[in-house]
Amino acid sequence: MVTPIAFFILMLALWETGYRREWWNSTLFPGPLEVWQALASGVKDGSLILATKISLLRLLIAFGIALMLGTLLGILNGTVPAVRRAIGPLALGLQTLPSICWLPLAVVWFGASEKAILFVTLMGALLAVTIAVSDGIRNIPPLYLRAAKMMGASGPRLYKEVLIPAAFPAIISGAKQGWAFAWRSLMAGELLSVSSGALGLGQTLMRGRDLNDMSQVLAVMTILIAIGVVADRLLFTQLENRVRRRWGLASP
């Protein structure tokens, strides 16, 4: 724990020194103190807080829909052979498509609006979640299903008490992946549609570029990193480890 922190401080010091001694054009790459000030003033006047809130809200809405829809599709795909044959290859094909490629279509469908950004974010996460859940269900050991049938579990009860819990580790991994995809897609969407909708973090980033304010750009990037780390490390990885521990699986 000490070494990474020491290393981190050393890097910051080096960055600040380089900036002060003008090893590079200081307007193109401001020093850490200046970035800190931009961050602080953005927080103080509320603009960065608001942008963060807007982006997170978009993310939660789109990711929430993706999670529900993806789990549903994944379960269908995993349990109904006919559905799997029909949409399986399609889902795999679509997953290779970077989700930002949906933006032109989304803009035509929904206009340069909130909906377009949400759609791109949703498409980023949906297929990852669908595929993870469906793989999770198909990899359930048949022994569990036979045990469940032997105990008379069928219909909704089989889904609720056996299939979904058995696939839960896979569902969490799918959610984690989906979240990462959604986050990237959201930023791409916001960056490419500055004029539309409320100012999220992506749009604020582009604003900074337009105003040639590199400390604002770097301040927003800092927030993006922080959100990414918190979500991945503190939320999903924790959840994943807890489930793995309960099941007695080795931590990855």
Binding site: L143, Y144, R146, A147, K149, M150, M151, G152, A153, R157, E161, V162, P165, A166, F168, R246, W247, G248
Partner: protein
């Protein structure tokens, strides 16, 4: 000395075409009529089960023994309703078995507990017909007490030893309050001491509950200790070779000399079957080698039937 070797007999012979079925007034708890199962449908491949008929009375403890691959699990799965016969039909209380159900509890070789539930929750899964949650919890705990696992009620399966997991599986099966208990080599993966302990536990539980039990095992001593009747099966195609009634008094112990004597008799009878399998395996390896593929007849697990001890 109480050892009878009876031929497998068909309860319902094929002579009832055109006449009323000559069913006995009380049908057998479980009966199989000319059941055949073919996984490999290619010409010339032996059936997993061929024309097996068998009937098991209520309250009977029947053990199935036979060499690996002779169709013991297949037979059990037919009775459980987890597998459909290609020909013939299985009945329970005279009604055709069409699907799995809680009236025929299965205890699998690997405990098959749900890893996301604690021991007591696993038992509760079998008690879902009990609506009241408190009553359900109480009943589940009672079942765990029956297998001496009260202290581990709230442990997850991976926190239990193999023997403890198997005991939870027994508790779960008993919680279903089934008519028939079907056990597929439940103790095969356990060490000898744990196995002997569980054998005695199963015997005690059976003496208390008098359920109908079908118990598959590789271990002849286990079969003799537990069974009222031991059914020996042969492989390729899977069929019943002989049935033996075990009339030793209960409770029996694995280490009783009488038990060992019975086991010896059965083993002698099974030797031919084992020898046949060993021979087939060597022939196969030999043939593969003649075709230039890798294979060494000396590498088969049992180079001759004499070295197999009490296991099969």
């Amino acid at each position: 000395m109480g050892l009878f070797i009876t031929k497998p007999k068909n309860e319902f012979p094929e002579t009832r075409i055109g006449t009323l079925p000559a069913r006995p007034p009380i049908p057998a708890k479980i009966s199989l009529e000319n059941v055949s199962v073919r996984f490999d449908t290619r010409q010339g491949q032996p059936a997993a089960l061929e024309n097996v008929s068998l009937s098991i009375q209520a309250g009977e403890f029947v053990c199935l023994v036979g060499p690996s691959g002779c169709g013991k699990s297949t037979l059990l799965n037919i009775m459980a309703g987890l597998l459909a016969a290609d020909e013939g039909q299985a009945f329970k209380d005279g009604a055709p078995i069409t699907k799995a159900g809680p009236d025929r509890a299965v205890i699998f070789q690997e405990a098959a507990l749900f890893p996301w539930l604690t021991a007591v929750q696993n038992v509760e899964f079998a008690l879902k017909t009990v609506r009241n949650r408190k009553v359900r919890r109480e009943r589940a705990l009672e079942q765990l007490q029956m297998v001496h696992l009260s202290r581990f009620a709230h442990s997850y399966p991976h926190e239990l030893s193999g023997g403890m997991r198997q005991r939870v599986a027994i508790a779960r099966a008993l919680a279903l309050d089934p008519d028939v208990l079907l056990m597929d080599e439940p103790f095969a993966a356990l060490d000898a001491q744990t196995r002997d302990l569980l054998i005695e536990e199963v015997q005690r539980i059976w003496l208390e509950t008098r359920k109908t039990v079908v118990f598959v095992t590789h271990n002849v001593l286990e079969a003799v200790t537990l069974g009222d009747r031991v059914i020996c099966m042969g492989a390729r195609p899977g069929c019943i070779k002989q049935e033996l009634n075990i009339t030793l008094e209960r409770p029996r112990a694995v280490e009783d000399p009488d038990t060992a004597r019975f086991a010896q008799r059965i083993l002698a009878n099974l030797k031919d079957e084992i020898a046949k399998i060993v021979r087939e395996e060597s022939d196969y390896v030999e043939a593969e080698r003649a075709r230039g593929r890798d294979g060494d007849p000396n590498r088969v697990l049992y180079p001759n039937a004499g070295t197999m001890g009490d296991g099969i």
